[in-house]
């Protein structure tokens, strides 16, 4: 399992951010060839992103590239350019057809094979930015083994839902719940969309607390100053970590002694509670038993 609390978008035409984005220590970076880049700059941005990828200097970040949509004629050139650089994954915008994921899987396999990259290394992150995409979320999430996460859209989705942004994004409550449900049913991560107001830290914190409660594992980020707020929300408190360690240790102890039942502080603990405790340690950057990941 990989921590994906924050994925920072880096405009593909901005060398300053492409070279420095990882320094803000998000869990992942998204080098963006899509919305951040004007149509007239697509070629130059692709070359720039390729050259930055070749440097391979991204710290511990999971490196993904948002390619142009599969409804354009750019996506093949995009993946042919960036996948041979050995990235961790691609982020595909406006996914709404599970069959496209099979097509993408095939295309990626071919490129990986030619480039000598281990088959299946390149993961896929799907942006569900239309009503149809949200509706088909589970089918999309299960369409390829490469799918690592599904993510609801923001503005595009609102437009497709024929609504507008409200203060608390009530219009996205349903789609977010559907994405969480589909993601966990499919065994992939649910990653939330960006919070657009980059100067409203309090609003960002409220929204992050809410999506965490819904079951998201992280959020996309459009400004480095948002990273710390989101990490704060997704990182367990010292008390939560302590309790989780107790539970995980007790479970390990019970297993080693061949006992089915786990007791912590004199109380019986169910398996789901142990799983949640393991997840708490994961979010804290700790493996079971408290070692650093």
């Amino acid at each position: 399992m990989r921590l994906r609390r924050t994925k920072l978008y880096l405009p593909g035409n901005n060398p300053n951010m492409l070279l420095r984005g990882h320094l803000f220590e998000p869990d992942g970076v998204i080098l963006d060839l899509e919305d951040a880049v004007a149509m007239s700059e697509k070629d130059s941005a692709r070359i720039l992103v390729r050259d930055v990828l070749k440097r391979g200097d991204f710290g511990n970040c999971e490196v993904t590239v948002r390619i142009n949509g599969m409804d354009t004629d750019l996506w093949r050139t995009d993946i042919e350019t960036v996948v041979p650089c050995g990235i961790d994954g691609i982020r595909i915008p406006k996914v709404e057809n599970p069959k496209d994921m099979a097509l993408m899987d095939e295309a990626l396999s071919e490129i990986e094979s030619k480039a000598g990259i281990p088959a299946g290394r390149t993961l896929v992150f799907c942006l569900l930015e239309t009503a149809l995409g949200i509706w088909k979320a589970f089918d999309i999430a299960t369409a390829s083994k490469r799918i690592a996460a599904i993510c609801p859209g923001g503005e595009d989705l609102r437009a497709d839902l024929k609504t507008t942004r409200s203060e608390n994004s009530e219009e996205l409550i349903g789609p977010r719940r559907m994405v969480v449900l589909a993601a966990h049913a499919a065994g992939v991560d649910a990653l939330d969309t960006v919070y657009a107001n980059i100067t409203d830290d309090a609003g960002l914190r409220r929204e992050t607390e809410w999506v965490k409660q819904l079951g998201f594992q992280g959020k996309s980020v459009i400004h480095p100053n948002q990273i710390q707020v989101i990490h704060d929300v997704f990182t367990p408190t010292a008390k939560e970590i302590e309790q989780a360690k107790k539970i995980v240790d007790a479970a390990a102890d019970a297993a080693s002694r061949g006992l089915g039942a786990v007791q912590v502080d004199g109380k019986m603990v169910d398996k789901p509670v142990v799983r949640r405790a393991e997840y708490t340690l994961h979010r804290a950057g700790l493996k079971s038993g408290g070692e650093k990941q």
Partner: protein, 516 residues
């Protein structure tokens, strides 16, 4: 030619400057003899009014002649009207070949260009920011500019290296007998720290004020016994350019990242304890470092002793909160600092001599634990350039850089690794302003390089575990990898700027740019 202790090849004599005392190391040159003393004067009760009708009358009364040296302070910053007005009057009166000796010049002083070109001004001894620096760099001045630090300047005055014939002191408030205050008046600027040595040592002192008050003036910063004449004028400056409004901490993520790295280094050091003293500038990164340090002081219950230097609202608030006992203020940057220095006895005005002069019985920078400074370039030997830009043009003064770096126990230089496509970490800086021997760490967004001679800091940073340590070599290689090698600046042999170290030795020179 002599290779000095900073590795620079410097002529033994420079036309328009004279014999060179070569830089030998930051604490090697010590003074001989006595301090300079100005001529005695007497006044009796037959003279109870020093007022003259205008600046021209004061110039006449002062005995100012062609070839003399006149001084100014820069507390009115970019709002100052006085320097331009005095030079205009000198030009009208046919006075020429003046040496002007300001504590600093700003963009508003671009007006002086005409007086340089017409020969009213022969030389500038002081920082030359912006357009005048560009003019000098391109060979527009006959005699080299002499740059001194905030401590080096009062050293030059008190030692007699520079004799000020007439000091024109912009006075936000004065009474008719020359008691001057910076704290009150429509052009209030707070501390008048940089003007003190000029008032004390100049052969003649003229106060120019736009707030003439009944004797005695309130909140007296410069007392009457130094001041020869008082000139009331309608306005000495534009308040909007004198002080800024509220000083806000930057939200620029790159600056915040550099500031966070600097704060981590400070927090990991032995100096982060009760009684810490601290100086930062008012720039984006510096203020953000202060914000992070303030947060850490709150969290760890640390109370500091004093904040030093140019004072901002941020430091005033830290004192109000109990995070500093006192502020020692040589220059008040914003409205809150101006108000505080007028009201709070723990907010103390200090002179530049007190602040940073290496040739007295002990200046304030010697008591400083930590200072956070900027740079245009840093190099493999931790030398710092703050004077010239990548194109070789002389664009910035030294400020208190050399002084605080030499005085503080922990001197931190914050700089982005690149500005645009220009590397800020290089093999060898174009101009050495502050020698690497007094610099302890370079902090960039790509990591923190600690001077290898400070193994104690390296150890404490490693122990803390959250300081992203890198070597200086790694930073330079990283910068080169991103930008490639820069083409060298093309210059003529002619020297247009002399950079003095705070002890009056020459640490580096700036040469005229080749015409493109």
């Amino acid at each position: 030619m002599t290779v000095n202790a900073a590795g620079r090849n410097i002529p033994d004599s420079i036309p328009g400057y004279g014999e060179v005392n070569h830089f030998q190391g930051h604490d090697k040159r010590t003074p001989e003899g006595n301090r300079y003393g100005k001529k005695n004067r007497a006044s009796f009760n037959s003279k109870t009014d020093k007022i003259l009708p205008d600046i021209r009358a004061a110039i006449s009364a002062s005995g100012l002649e062609s070839g003399m040296t006149v001084s100014f302070h820069h507390h009115l910053r970019n709002g100052d009207y006085v320097v331009n007005a005095v030079m205009d009057a000198c030009a009208e009166m046919g006075i020429k070949d003046l040496v002007i000796f300001p504590t600093a010049l700003f963009g508003v002083h671009k007006h002086l260009t005409r007086h340089i070109q017409s020969g009213v001004i022969r030389q500038i001894q002081g920082s030359v920011n912006g357009p005048i620096g560009q003019l000098a760099s391109e060979g527009g001045m006959e005699v080299p500019v002499v740059l001194r630090s905030h401590g080096g300047r009062p050293r030059a005055v008190t030692s007699g290296d520079v004799v000020i014939d007439v000091a024109f002191i912009a006075a936000p408030t004065s009474d008719r007998y020359g008691n001057i205050s910076g704290a009150v008046g429509k052009s209030a600027c707070g501390s008048l720290g940089y003007a003190h040595s000029d008032a004390e040592y100049a052969e003649c002192v003229v106060a120019i004020t736009d707030n003439l008050v009944q004797y005695p003036a309130p909140n007296i910063h410069i007392p009457q016994y130094y001041v020869d004449y008082v000139v009331p004028v309608e306005s000495i400056g534009d308040p909007a350019g004198i002080v800024s409004g509220t000083t806000r901490v930057t939200r620029d993520p790159m600056r915040l990242l550099i500031a966070r790295n600097a704060a981590k280094l400070i927090e990991s050091s032995q100096y982060f304890r009760n009684g810490i003293s601290f100086q930062t500038g008012a720039g984006g990164i510096s203020l953000a470092v202060a914000a992070y340090v303030r947060e850490a002081m709150r969290e760890r219950g640390i109370k500091g002793s004093f904040g030093l230097g140019g004072i901002t609202e941020f430091f005033v608030d830290m004192m109000k909160e109990g995070l500093f006992e006192r502020l020692m203020d040589v220059q008040s940057f914003d409205l809150a600092a101006v108000k505080s220095i007028g009201e709070n006895p723990n907010h103390i005005e200090i002179s530049a001599d007190w602040y940073a002069n290496p040739w007295n019985a002990g200046c304030a920078v010697n008591m400083l634990d930590t200072v956070v400074l900027g740079a245009t370039e840093v190099d493999r030997n931790f030398n710092v350039n703050v004077n010239t830009e990548a194109d070789g043009a002389l664009l910035h003064g030294i400020g208190g850089h050399q002084d605080t770096a030499a005085g503080a126990q922990l001197t931190i230089i914050t700089t982005p690794l690149l500005r645009g496509r220009i590397p800020c970490a290089v093999d060898s800086v174009y101009t050495v302003t502050t020698p690497g021997e007094v610099v302890d760490a370079i902090v960039t967004e790509f990591g923190v390089a600690i001077n290898p001679k400070r193994q104690d800091l390296i150890d404490s940073a490693r122990e803390a575990g959250d300081v992203p340590l890198v070597s200086m070599d790694e930073l330079i290689e990283k910068a080169k990898g991103l930008t490639g090698n820069m083409s060298p600046v093309e210059t003529d042999e002619r020297i247009i700027g002399v950079v003095e170290y705070r002890d009056g030795t020459v640490i580096d020179v700036v040469r005229q740019l080749k015409k493109k």
